[in-house]
Symmetry: C2
Subunit: 179 residues, 2 copies
């Protein structure tokens, strides 16, 4: 990341995640973000072409950390039930400590400007876990993986609301996925 080279850019993204954390994506207006970051409005457009580009960068920043961790898990295990569970747990645990989860999982999906990026991200997760469902002998591994990703995101949202690990939901998730 070029955060060290562009601390102001990093500050704008960080302020956006903080604002999204307490409120919806609508709270991350250019006004609010720049005020929270302590810079003038014009500075925003020094670092981002427009608001859509900023939201895209926010989304990328959110998944950068999560993506790296999951790739580590994927490399560390052979495809199968254990890897599926480890990857999903990593995702959920990271979400519990992340800022702006609800905005990234829910609100940003209805932003037309970056809908493709969001869809592509989810499709990437599904592609990665397709191998696990294939190893489990699922007849349609790719379709199962897509539904699995939807379930994991639902658990992430539920845990965001309750504020902690939801053992019931996670157990139901493993039970549904793991025939």
């Amino acid at each position: 990341m070029a955060d060290d080279a562009h601390p102001t850019r990093a500050a704008l993204l960080s302020a956006g995640l903080a604002l999204a954390e307490s409120g919806s994506l609508a709270a991350t207006s250019v006004d609010h973000v720049t005020r929270a970051a302590g810079v003038s409005k014009g500075t925003f457009y020094v670092h981002f072409a427009d608001r859509a580009a900023y939201l895209a960068a926010l989304h990328r920043a959110f998944y950068a950390e999560i993506g790296v961790r999951i790739e580590e898990v994927l490399r560390a295990h052979p495809p199968g039930a254990d890897r599926l569970r480890a990857a999903a747990s990593t995702y959920l645990d990271t979400c519990l400590g992340a800022r702006g989860v609800k905005a990234m999982l829910l609100d940003i999906r209805s932003e037309p400007a970056i809908a493709d990026q969001v869809r592509g991200n989810a499709a990437g997760f599904a592609a990665a876990t397709g191998a696990d469902f294939a190893a489990l002998g699922a007849p349609r591994p790719q379709a199962a993986a897509r539904l699995f990703v939807a379930m994991v995101q639902e658990v992430a949202l539920a845990e965001l609301q309750s504020g902690g690990v939801d053992d019931d939901l996670r157990a139901a998730l493993w039970h549904l996925a793991d025939h």
Copy 2:
């Protein structure tokens, strides 16, 4: 419904669903809706206290038909795999013929004003199908039902995009749900 008693109110809701169909919820501004319904802006506030109340009514109108059909299915079968499948199929088939599916499934979830209503609706579906997972012997029927609803909504969105029944996804859905 009081549509016959208040044709203008019905026209406003119908225009809103039509606008949501081609575009997002943002397209259902008071301006756009009233223009599409062929009434003046002031008329909007004769029938709805504010935009939030209108969105709530839109959401209720969308699920009114679907709810009745699903209740019929639930009454017609005993809890179990068959009923689960029949109810979900009814939901998905109705979505395929409905207007504004994406807005009702996706966009409206990030409207703070009616978040409770949306959550309550999904919780209602989950409660109804909890009995089916119990009959199937799932150890945590309520949690499984919640995840199942999330999967069904994911299939509805996928079918909206492709424009027709997605046999792969539906088959994967039955396979995941039906141990």
